[in-house]
């Protein structure tokens, strides 16, 4: 279900590592994906699987050291973001690629007013003076549904509720009308009703501004109504990449199956127990031999323990990294 829009971001074989006292942590291990203009890409996986690190790498926000971008490319409009200097990246960050963070409680500066924090990007990138930035910020605040925006401008973050703070973060992110919005678990720290409001808000703004979104989450339910394509990550690898319909109706990777099995459903009887994935995500110090999911996998075969499966197409626009055919239980 790829759109016919031109590709805006093309990530190729991205590898990010961290030097620690215990050894090299292989956080992102050669992931590749592309993003078309105006498209929404969902990135799912459990905590510590490299979702956030992969996007922070693209933004040049991995502190080096201890981080190491060991290889790969991130082509934004054809030029490699990984090769740009911090000074060059500063002109892209906030203006063309913006980001929303997980926890609105910690991602706003407690000692600066909401208005200053939103207006800063406008003065920086749009060459606005203080008054223009103020007017535009008030507009933005009302766009994201904050009541009495002219008053909210001079408020401090502690005077805002969690949902309002996340709205302010969104206003900050869309202030310069970015081409790509990276949403790093923007609803995880919010309660369900606010989650729905925030998701709707971002959807509405996406359609108004026409920006592409990379939506990182571990909540498969949110992705369903939002994204066109989904990447499932595990231990720094992409294990399944398909259209959103294929991921839900026709998942092929055992990990995706297990994730969907762990999701509560409205049409499930109450006595039925949710399945859980046994074991823990692997320690990322040192690359695994064989498939990283093998120790927790129901379908594991001998080959899985020997060799890490590459990402291969199993149908049109549907890639998985698995040796096993989950329908038969045998080798593919």
């Amino acid at each position: 279900m790829r759109s016919d829009m031109p590709t805006i971001l093309d990530v190729k074989n991205l590898q990010t590592r961290f030097k620690t006292y215990d050894g090299l942590v292989y956080a992102v291990n050669g992931i590749s994906y592309s993003l078309d203009e105006g498209e929404t890409l969902g990135v799912v996986g459990e905590s510590g699987c490299g979702k956030s690190v992969s996007v922070l790498s693209i933004m040049g926000l991995i502190p080096q050291p201890p981080g190491i971008i060991a290889g790969g490319q991130a082509l934004y409009h054809g030029s490699d973001l990984l090769k740009k200097s911090q000074a060059e990246l500063r002109h892209i960050r906030g203006k063309e690629i913006a980001m929303i963070f997980q926890d609105p409680m910690t991602s706003l500066n407690p000692v600066l007013t909401i208005g200053f924090q939103i207006g800063e990007a406008l003065q920086l990138h749009m060459a606005m003076n203080a008054q223009q930035a103020r007017d535009r910020t008030i507009e933005l605040l009302s766009m994201v549904g904050i009541p009495q925006p002219d008053r909210a401008f001079d408020n401090y973050p502690h005077q805002f509720s969690g949902g309002m703070r996340q709205r302010a973060m969104i206003a900050m992110a869309i202030s310069c009308l970015p081409q790509i919005l990276i949403a790093d678990e923007p609803t995880t720290a919010l309660d369900v009703t606010i989650q729905a409001q925030i998701t709707d808000l971002i959807k509405r703004l996406r359609d108004e501004i026409g920006m592409a979104i990379i939506w990182i989450t571990h909540d498969l339910g949110i992705i369903a109504g939002l994204a066109q394509r989904v990447i499932v990550m595990y231990a720094g690898f992409i294990v399944e990449h398909a259209s959103v319909d294929d991921v839900y109706d026709n998942p092929h990777h055992p990990y995706t199956l297990a994730l969907l099995g762990a999701l509560p459903r409205v049409d499930m009887s109450r006595s039925e127990r949710l399945t859980s994935i046994p074991g823990m995500p692997p320690n990322l110090i040192g690359l695994p031999q064989g498939c990283p999911f093998a120790p927790r996998c129901h379908f594991v075969l001998e080959k899985c323990r020997q060799e890490n499966p590459p990402l291969t197409f199993i149908a049109l626009k549907h890639e998985i990294a698995c040796w096993v055919d989950v329908q038969t239980g045998g080798l593919r």
């Binding site: 960050r93 963070f101 991602s107 706003l108 500066n109 407690p110 800063e120 408020n155």
Partner: protein
């Protein structure tokens, strides 16, 4: 949404009002005023909150009032006594004990001690404030750069800071004062002549007291730069310098203010003991410190010579320390003790 709210409201109202039997009619009466009130009441800014906590601190308020009185004393006194009068000496009236003509008595060469404490107080307070200014500039810069950039910059700056901390402060002060005094000529400011040694003393004290501040700022930097709001600022494309100055430093303002306040008291004391050793501000410019030095030989015969400047130093340092204490509590909500 609207329906839901009303439902919750009515349920709540019923629960509250059932005993009185007024029922649904008062739904709006009960809720509108409170809702409106919370919306119209402007929440307090962090500075207002801090001031409210400061006001509750009795010793700090006492210190603040005392400090204000001392400032009025040294500024207001200058309108009563001229500087010529403060420096005028007449050996014929030397070592007079306090009297109506000379309420604080006179010193060894017949100068009026009251007038000299006024002008000496100005210099002492100026030295205290300016020295802290110098130490703030150096300490905050070193600490911020060191903590934010880390790596070899941090190593070099911190080893240098530690090296300075290893040298006994008194020794450093005496050597610097001895070597540098007299290098700067007297200068005119506000139509008055100041001894060049004032500048020297300010620099010496300032450059000798920034190390603890630098360490405090550095440690704050280290933790604050890992905060998500700093990453968010990077994400908007803010430069490193702007992140340090506008995003991180305002978060460290509380320890900086407290440290600076207590630093003023320290600088006044330091000036007093360098001057007491005869290495401080040169006469005829008076400071509370060099007035004590003059009293050195008359400790028993003319106690008024050391009592008044000594008392003023004591009161000032006490007042500033109380204020500093109050600020520490006011600016750190976690340290609140009821």
């Amino acid at each position: 949404m609207q329906v839901q709210v009303r439902e919750i409201r009515s349920r709540f109202t019923l629960h509250v009002l059932r005993p009185t039997g007024t029922g649904m009619a008062t739904v709006t009466d009960v809720f509108s005023p409170t809702a409106e009130e919370t919306l119209t009441k402007e929440p307090l800014t962090p500075a207002q909150l801090a001031w409210r906590r400061f006001r509750r601190h009795k010793m700090a308020m006492f210190g603040l009032v005392l400090l204000a009185a001392l400032i009025v004393y040294v500024i207001g006194g200058a309108f009563v006594f001229s500087e010529e009068f403060a420096n005028f000496n007449d050996v014929g009236i030397k070592l007079l004990s306090p009297s109506a003509a000379h309420p604080f008595g006179t010193d060894a060469i017949g100068r009026d001690i009251l007038a000299r404490t006024v002008y000496g107080g100005q210099i002492s307070l100026i030295i205290g404030l300016a020295a802290v200014g110098v130490s703030l500039v150096v300490g905050v810069t070193v600490g911020a750069v060191s903590g934010y950039y880390g790596g070899w910059i941090d190593s070099i700056l911190m080893r240098f800071t530690e090296a300075l901390l290893c040298i006994p402060q008194l020794f450093l002060l005496i050597v610097a004062a001895k070597y540098l005094s007299g290098k700067i000529p007297n200068f005119e400011m506000f139509g008055r002549t100041f001894s060049g040694s004032v500048i020297i003393i300010i620099l010496i004290i300032g450059l000798d007291s920034w190390m603890y501040l630098a360490r405090i700022v550095r440690s704050q930097m280290l933790s604050l730069k890992e905060q998500e709001f700093v990453t968010a600022a990077h994400c908007t494309g803010t430069s490193n310098a702007a992140i340090i100055v506008t995003h991180i430093l305002p978060n460290t303002i509380a320890p900086i203010i407290v440290n600076a306040t207590l630093g003023v008291a320290n600088a006044i004391l330091t000036e007093a003991y360098i001057s007491f050793l005869g290495l401080g501000v040169r006469p005829p410019t008076a400071t509370w410190g060099n007035m004590l030095e003059n009293a050195n030989r008359y400790l028993e015969t003319a106690p008024w010579m050391w009592f008044f400047p000594g008392m003023l130093i004591l009161l000032t340092v006490l007042a500033i320390n109380f204020v500093g204490d109050g600020l520490r509590d006011a600016l750190d909500p976690r340290a609140m003790v009821e």
